[in-house]
């Protein structure tokens, strides 16, 4: 029996009748049509499907769509605004934090959770924070640099905003 859900994805409400077993990642990809969230293992071990659920990073391959009913989801497509990249996206671009790009959306959203809650992490804190997200291309070093750069950019912006007040 299908269940009606309303999920706000990147600021837009998506209403659908879904099977109770439908995984959130499949809702995002197949129903909402947002394919930036990837499926790498279906077992919450690789992190490619990481999205923000009410601001916290979750692995959307092990969240049921019905669990997200009435909640807010942010996917990688929702980070840039007004044609401007999010500082974390800029960090990944500038520091070559990606090669094949498949783990990147999950890696970016996991880093987003880290930097929102811990704006100035050390390198080893960054490495610990992304340890639920696998990357097979980069050896992680440029990802760590990307998050470090993003942290610097975000704190500058916060300082700039505070100064403007």
């Amino acid at each position: 029996m299908k269940k009606n859900v309303t999920i706000n994805v990147n600021g837009v409400d998506h209403r659908a009748a879904v099977e109770p077993r439908l995984l959130l990642v499949h809702f995002l990809r197949e129903v909402a049509g947002l394919t930036g969230t990837h499926v790498g293992c279906e077992t919450s071990l690789c992190g490619a499907c990481t999205v923000l659920l009410d601001g916290r990073a979750v692995k959307s391959c092990t969240v049921l769509t019905v669990q997200a009913d009435g909640r807010k989801v942010t996917t990688v497509e929702g980070l840039a605004s007004g044609g401007k990249l999010h500082p974390i996206q800029e960090g990944f671009w500038e520091e070559h934090g990606l090669q094949c790009g498949f783990c990147t959306p999950g890696m970016i959203l996991c880093s987003h959770d880290l930097l929102e809650h811990h704006p100035s992490p050390t390198d080893s804190e960054i490495r610990e924070a992304i340890n639920g997200n696998l990357c097979r291309c980069t050896g992680y070093q440029h990802i760590v640099a990307a998050v470090r750069t993003a942290s610097r950019k975000m704190s500058k912006r916060v300082t700039a905003r505070a100064g403007a007040r």
Binding site: H38, C100, R136
Partner: protein, 821 residues
Amino acid sequence: MATKAKAKTASTNGKAAHWVGKKLKRKEDPRLIQGISHYTDDFKLAGMVYCVLVRSPHAHAEIRAIRTDAARALPGVLAILTSEDTSAIGPVPCAMQMPDLKVPRHPVLAMGRVRYLGEPVAAIVAEDAYTAADAAELVEVDYEPLPVVTDMEKALSADTPYVHDEFKSNQAFTHTLKNGDIDAAFKKADHVVSQRMINQRLAPIAMEPRAVLAEYLPGENRLTVWSSTQIPHLLKTQISIMVGLPETAVRVIAPEVGGGFGSKLNVYAEEGIVPWLAMKLGRPVKWNETRSENFLATIHGRDTINYVELALKKDGAILGLRARILADLGAYHQLLTPLIPQLTALMHAGCYKIPAIQIDVVGVFTNKMSTDAYRGAGRPEACYNVERIMDIGARELGMDPVAFRLKNFPQPKEFPYTTITGLTYDSAKYQESLKKALKLAGYDALRKRQKAGWKIGKYYGIGVSTYVEICAIGPSAATPAGGWESGTVRIEPTGKVTLLTGASPHGQGEETTFAQLIADELGIDPDDINVVHGDTLAVPYGIGTFGSRGTAVGGTAAYLATQKLKVKMATLAAHLLGCKPSDITIGRGRLSAKGGKKSISFGELVMSAYTARNIPAGFEPGMEATHFFEPSNFTFPFGTHIASVEVDAETGEVKIEKYVAVDDCGNVINPMLVDGQIHGGIAQGMGQAMWEELIYNEDGQLLTGSLMDYVIPKAHFFPEFTLDRTVTPSPVNPMGVKGVGEAGTIASTPCMVNAVCDALSPLGVRHIEMPLKPERVWKAIAGAQSGAQSNGQEPQFPPELSRAKRGSSAKASKSSTRRRP
């Protein structure tokens, strides 16, 4: 070389490279970091249906019956096929031809018998993926289990079950590489060291599992297949053979590809089944591999048992090297399965002067998934054997491993250097790379600390690995399916440039690096160059990206196509400006006549080639050139990696303190991307040394078949790698590039094992099998102490580490009396 000379005469207006050598941000990244790029699974076609495969839960069994009624009855199920229905599909291809190679028929769905865990036995198509998965659960297969062989040494014994009855043997092929008087070398040796070493089976684990989407339009007779592949053109040819369509009716698109590492340098059963289903059903069909399937049915890497012997003079000179290699091929040959262990044989000279060599390879069938090319593809195994036996030899002689290596390197002036295995190494300065790495690592200080540490029971180890690899694969004579590559450069009427490359990448960043090198040649901005790849309808036939060949072969093809185009541009410019073509220089968006008084803008010139109203007699309108580049030789990148570790002798845990890599890949187009390749390579090579292992039990069940059980290294496993490079251009191509995709993987595996064995040398540990899990390291320590063979293997060692049995240098160790379960 002719190509080199030609390139020089047409080179860009005296200016130093403007874009080549720069840390340019990647052109492909904006779409990837915003999640708006398209991998195969991201395409959704009208009327698309989904395929799921039913796979064997047995490693070896007769299929008695397959009952599909319940599955068929499920609403939404459109088709269920077994081998009876798919007999028209051609077999999974193997590209290798060798005199004694046994090639079993490899059907896309098992026919009567399954031979490895995960072999597909039925294909289901349903309206949606969930229904297809439900239906797969409802398919009942009666299996009659058969005796299983998973141990490659037992597979060669007299009383073994056969994987393929028709061969009456599990020996798939033999291969011997022999040169010099090997028997005399071992006879006259002052010292002979030998070691049995296992190169364990690995899973490539590209983050994007494989995926295939196919659509057939009967009116146009057009089959389009999207596949996560490294070789779209070769795949197109093979799909046409498998499904029986003329090749002109088949288009393959490799869209965004989420990593490959060799695992997508292949042609798989699904790439026959899915297109064929799309043709039969008249609807687009998509298949996504699950991660579990990826572990079971995407090719594996490595899996060899090696017996390596080194003959030495007492002054440290190498007299000869002998190895016998058993290679576990799995149950069937995939595209290049039998080639990989032959590459291993070929690279056994390493970067040393070896007067005599003999390598015997035996390929063995077992009831496992096929092995094939995984990052490094045969070379990591060779480098491991060579670099490990060098360390063991140095220790036997009481020499420092660095001094031992320096003693046996060829000198820079000896290049091009012909090895005992018959290869011609293009260029190298092994000494320079080693010295740079020693300095960067602080080698002398590390050795000092190590000696002091041993006195107080602290076990610091220093691993050195000086590697050479074979890249830019390769000359066609040495490659099963052509070793050349194609490049087409087209300047569009508006002056924008399209580069079509046959070297379809999967994360390497060729859209950026190829644009950099063309931009310098044409004197324009890389942003004005669009690099197109992966679509067989758009791009002339090409080979693909693997074997660290993308830049050295594919990049060279693009470069040489650009040279042809520059000749054409100069001809037209000379006509328009009234001078000789040889007086034309190209740069900064203009073509100028000698003296610089008369010039024409890049855009005007190109437009006039298309309007074609004022062109010289016999001049072909348009502005496009294609080059198919056939390399004259491989390239041979090299370098030195040094690891510093501390081993806890109580627990067997290894702490990686420092990792230094000095690599030489010839000239560098984008240093940031080269560093990225090396980082990733080190991580994978270190993964093999320390954590990764595919374990089949004796029933052929895969015990490490999930990301929970198979350890893909995570960010916090690694220290920050310290990188540097030397630059020794290759004479093999006009750009002097060598290739860098596999260097890190090849060098780092023996480097880590050398480091750990070095740390434990005062305890009598000589060798430990990979991965260096704490349990294994601990057992090796315990075994060495009890006098058993110190290879980290069974038998069970006594649980007690006796203080008395330790070497004198370990007396102060606090660990020595701790009891272990």
